[in-house]
Amino acid sequence: MVVFSGEHDVATKHEVADLLESLVRGDDLIVADFSTASFVDSSILGVLLDTDRQARELGKTFRLQLGTSDIVRRAFEIVGLFDVIERMTTREEALARGES
């Protein structure tokens, strides 16, 4: 579980990518919680798509937890992340095991 609060953009994309990659290698279920994020840009969205691909290759599960920030939700929608990565609205759903 990684909680992304505040603003996330190209300035920190390498740190975010390294963190998510290490989690994908170590854990079976990885949740990126953006419910308290106030801004994300296309470079962070690209990192999330890469993370999802790595997770699938390793047979792991990668999920997003989203809140109500409109600018964050719109960015995810436009880039099509919800078509690819499982989206949950609560911590309980995000951490539930098995198929969803």
């Binding site: 300035a11 801004f39 296309s42 690209g46 600018i71 960015a75 880039v79």
Partner: protein, 118 residues
């Protein structure tokens, strides 16, 4: 009423947070509703990040935004330096965000992006 926002970012560590906060403060003084404010903010960020990814270390990037008398916004992001290929891994997601968030996006290759809301 016509109001404008102008900023020039010098090259260096890519830090666009300060620009976004200034732009948000300006947008809050305009007639933009929350949805339009978000669209202008994210589209301007993407155009600026793109210009900086393509810019040379000594080439600044200028950003200007204005609201016209019917509440539409024009944003221009200009790369004032030379152009270079961005680092690997850069892709067109920023451009698709700009295209979806704005009514019109004009790209003058290697130099300028001009976007209209509406």
């Amino acid at each position: 009423m016509v109001t404008t926002f102008d900023a020039t970012l010098l090259r260096g560590p890519v830090d666009l947070r300060g620009m976004r906060h200034l732009l948000t403060s300006w947008l809050e003084q305009t007639d933009a509703d929350a949805e339009l404010l978000d669209a202008v903010l994210l589209a301007t960020h993407e155009a600026t990040a793109n210009a900086m990814a393509h810019g040379q270390p000594d080439g600044p990037v200028s950003i200007s935004a204005s609201e016209d008398d019917v509440g539409n916004f024009t944003i221009e992001v200009t790369n004032l330096g030379a152009w270079k290929e961005p680092e690997p891994g850069h892709d067109g997601r920023g451009l698709s965000l700009m295209g979806e968030l704005m009514f019109e996006v004009e790209i003058e290759t290697k130099t300028r992006v001009r976007m209209l809301s509406g």
